[in-house]
Symmetry: C4
Subunit: 205 residues, 4 copies
């Protein structure tokens, strides 16, 4: 707020932050209280391991996406209508994450056919998230007048390359999911941890 | 925050932004995880196409309304109690959108009689949203002392005309819905896309 | 943010605003999509009138409480731990409002015995809301060093008197609810409209 | 915002605040409207005492954690990627609290075996919350270059000691829960009240 960015960017940031925060917090709604007969609660709670794992992984995913989003908007000086719309696409995908998370948690330890499709559904939404970031940066790369002066020359190219790398990683996971959904899910967790540590913090001088 | 607008407008903006963000994010709650027998998950997921479409359209609608709301408050310098109340009406309609969205998603591919009423319900809430903006601007047009100095002379008239055009468009959709609910739903999507691109960005010099 | 209030008040305000906004928006979750047989959707939707009315009234109630809360914090310069706790009590009551709203909507057009208790439940939560504000101002009245210099001498007394008037009004409604729950519910709506217009806007010079 | 902290801390704070606010407000979703036969609503409402108690205790817990979180970030001048990740762990635990609250409310007055595990589940999540704060401060203690100049020398040690005291208190409660879940739940309430008043307000000179 102390800097010179116009208020539109600030409000877009605040609105986007709220969507990220709510999407992350809503994940808990999909962790249902189990129905347990007398003396069976411990067993019933342990049985829901996939819900807890899905919660943790998707919370981390939304956290990583939030950091990426922050690093993006920090490099934006002006917001036009197309960028506003592209940002809305990013938010719509992020806010949708609780759904594939719940699908995955519910079907991962059912039969393999359903587990496979649940895993693919999750991977597709992750690819959509990466793709929506790529679209935003593709637009920014062609409308450099919207970028802040401190934005690095290569920022659009870097961001798009990363998004494509993310999509490729999830495509590989889809391949794995067809063979073994369980391994694919472990990959989701690993990928998320990798993203957490692979991203450089947004430099700001 | 750097500018001279009194803090009341700033807080009203922040509060309103939160309601818009939450309403958009809550839409995902109405996308339910399907119950699927072994091997039937893909089919069950595809069967929910109307929920995904409803999610996408309503998310975009709330995004468009957020931009309109932002363009409105940006032109307001002072907030009196009536304006506060009229703004609350806008927010109440926006926060209600997840309900007609769910009704539409649930009944669009049932029998035509129910699909018709589901479509009309959705259109009515959209008209209420446009109407609530019209009321706000009607009030602002009659209390120009609340408007910011940079607000254009014709802003109230323009905003009201647009809101009425929106209401008319949805009225036409109601007429179509009686003949074919499916076409009416396609119209909802088209109207939203039109709104996204038809609106001029709020000028700020 | 431009003024001299310490950051704690600003953050408390932001946190409180978020709770108000979320509580209001969550009201829509209690408006359930009806189950309707073919051709019965219109009837089923109209049958839910009490859910819509409850949504509208409680949204307005939370709006009124938000304005009151805003007017309160605007007069606070410093926040100590007890005030933080008392504010938390206010927020806990506000965030609870979706529950009595749903109880009222579900039971108002069942038998009179249940309608009576649903109405009383709603009135009790309203009284708790008014009472929590009274507690906050009682504390502020005894710790005037926390108040801002521009706060009026009589502000604590005025706020407490108003809160007590609100409690009295809801007590009368409880009496009416025993005779006729429907009339009591109409009173809830009237009371809310009265509050919207009775409150003076927070003066700020 | 008026002070010299970089914008990253400010945004992290805003994002975190939103998660705390939403987690607290979502607690009400777990308070379900009871199904009651004619004339049975009062009884059914009173029967849900454990849901109301869980709501109140968890709301207070999230409030206490919010204050602690605020006192933590106030002492942080720079945020690196690891701290961002550790903060995300804190938020993930906080946003998870509605789940053990619902488990506890649902099973506390069932058979003792289930009540025992419900109580232990709740205590485990509380310990995870305290532990996540301890991890954050452990990291801050080893990366003092991230701390603000006004941060007290002993702040990390104090924060860790407190977190461990909290974990110890909940461990004792687990021991009690095995003997008497009801007493353990009363302990949860007492512990929360103790935390509310034991914490010193964040000094700021």
């Amino acid at each position: 707020m102390a800097d010179a960015r116009p208020i539109e960017t600030v409000r877009l940031e605040a609105f986007s932050d709220a969507v990220f925060a709510i999407a992350a917090t809503l994940l808990v709604i999909e962790v249902k209280v189990p129905q347990a007969a007398a003396g069976e609660l411990l067993h019933a709670l342990l049985d829901e391991w996939s819900s807890y794992a899905g919660y943790a992984v998707s919370f981390a995913v939304i956290g990583v996406l939030w950091v990426n989003h922050h690093a993006t908007l920090e490099r934006v000086a002006k917001v036009d209508r197309s960028l506003l719309f592209l940002n809305l696409v990013v938010l719509a995908v992020v806010a949708f994450i609780p759904f594939p998370t719940a699908v995955l948690a519910d079907y991962i330890d059912g039969g393999i056919a359903n587990a496979r499709w649940a895993t693919i559904t999750y991977a597709l939404v992750m690819m959509a998230a990466a793709g929506s970031f790529a679209l935003m940066w593709l637009y920014l790369g062609r409308h450099r007048e919207l970028l802040a002066p401190h934005c690095e020359e290569h920022a659009p190219a870097t961001a798009i390359r990363r998004a494509l790398a993310g999509i490729a990683a999830y495509l590989v996971t889809v391949g794995i999911a067809i063979l073994s959904p369980a391994v694919a899910v472990a990959m989701f967790a690993l990928l998320t941890v990798a993203f957490v540590f692979a991203e450089r913090p947004a430099p700001r001088k």
